[in-house]
């Protein structure tokens, strides 16, 4: 067995275990912390695929911003950190069936794919980062989606400022 396969197996186990803990733990802050463990597992997978940039951005964006925002939303909005009440709702049987079906079809798809069983090829790091940067700004690659996403984010930013500003003026009056 290859060393990267062992690392992948252990990481996958960690991801599955922590993802299960996210939905089964009753303490909401613990759920957010387990989510961070899951996201770290995904970072390890990116690093195994030699996608350095994605691995680091995963930590900066998901752990550094989104997970911390989750923790704060929980702390500031809930009086009871501990979740009470049933953890399953009426549709759990259907949801379990659908997720199993999706998992089965994905497994079948990947098993029959031509790349199945092949190890990830070796890449040189500098080239992928350069290629990514150039692809994001070259007109015959991703410049349009990149710009559209930037404008969308800017609109969201201005919208957030506008919403916050309106509330402040109302409370002043």
């Amino acid at each position: 067995m290859d060393a990267s396969q062992i690392i992948f197996g252990l990481t996958a186990l960690l991801i599955i275990f922590s993802a299960l803990r996210v939905v089964t733990t009753r303490n909401m802050v613990h759920a957010a912390l387990w989510l961070i463990v899951t996201l770290f597992g995904v970072t390890v997978l990116y690093a195994l695929l030699q996608a350095n940039f994605l691995a680091v951005v995963q930590v900066v964006v998901y752990v550094g911003a989104i997970a911390i925002l989750f923790i704060f939303a929980i702390m500031l909005t809930r009086r009871e950190i501990r979740d009470s009440g049933p953890q399953l709702n009426r549709g759990w049987l259907l949801a379990a069936f659908i997720s199993l079906a999706v998992f089965g079809s994905l497994l079948a798809l990947l098993y029959n794919a031509p790349v199945a069983g092949r190890l990830a090829g070796s890449l040189t790091g500098e080239d992928t980062l350069m290629a990514l940067g150039q692809a994001l700004v070259s007109p015959d690659a991703y410049v349009l989606p990149f710009e559209v996403a930037s404008v969308l984010l800017l609109a969201a930013l201005i919208g957030a400022v506008y919403v916050a500003l309106n509330k402040k003026q109302e409370s002043d009056q």
Binding site: L33, V60, A65, I68, I71, G125, E126, L129
Partner: protein, 399 residues
Amino acid sequence: MNFWKDPINVAADWLKNVFTGWGLTDPYATALVYLLGAFTMVALVMLLDVFLVWIERKVVARFQDRVGPNRVGPFGLIQPFADIIKLLIKEDITPAGADKVVYNLAPVLSLASVLLLWAILPLSALVYGVDLNVAVLYLVAAGALGTLAVIMAGWSSNNKYALLGAFRTVAQMISFEIPMVVALLIPTILSGSMSLKTVVERQDIWYVILAPLGFIIFLISAIAELGRAPFDLNEAESEIVAGFHIEYSGMKFGLFYAGELLHAFTFGGFMAVLFFGGYRFFGLEQIHPLVAVFILMIKALLGYWVIMWIKYTVPRIRIDHMLAFNWKFLTPMAFALLVVTAVMHKLLSGTQPWVYALGMFLSNVVLLLAALEILRTSARNQRRQEEAALSAIAQTSSH
């Protein structure tokens, strides 16, 4: 390769041969050598950390016109070991209602987030952990882990002051992350690479000369990220007692304290690498790799000294002032500097080195003067408005 020219790598190769001689296959021997290398690095850094305690206490004493530790050993050099023994034999208290696992994990994560940074710090051309091509982003990612540790400590302590400290930390870290990322992009633009080793190699003129404003922005946001005075709102002793680590005692507090000191020193090292030529110093680094390591350590200590100098000189900033300063002054200036640096670098890249250096330096000075002028005008307008309002009140009351 001989041992004199490259001691670290030759030693690593020798160790790997020993392991393969014992019957290990090549990848496992490499992994074992890397593991031992990381372990040695962490051990040496922690040993350095012990003496940072002595340096910090000695320097703060000088700033406050005291002598500092001088009883245990020559110049008080053994003092940190006495401190360690004291911390270890203190009673270890876990507050009632604390979240035990998270409470115990937080100090470890806090120190680990600092130790992670040493993986990417190029100590010399041949002595470094890893030459990552996204090192600049890695620096920000490790900072995010430090923030997470503070939140975990603040929340799990089951203490209102600790939670307030955690809230303040997040407000501060999330805001100052933005000018820091922008300031980090300036060496990236100037060198054309995010790898710190390449940044040092291409730094024929120190970037502090090409982008002095970038260095100042990095210094300010680094101090904010460290949570040191004047940005030590998360542990402001006169307001929230000790902030996020109020409930920690003994060695758990010691880990936070050691992490803070090492963090400051590490940022001194990053300042040296990004803006002061790293391990290079007029060709002296070519004598021997360990001389280069020594040069970097001296530069890092100077950076650490500047951070201490600011800490023990400037009083604490108020939280609304801190946020306004960041969002209304530092962030816009950082973005303007980014644009100016990119344009000037492209315009002047073909010219003589001295023309290039002078142009970059002057563009920074002009930008700083313009920013200060805008600031002065807006402050003057604000004062005029307030004075007009005051005089209007005075007139109505006199009638």
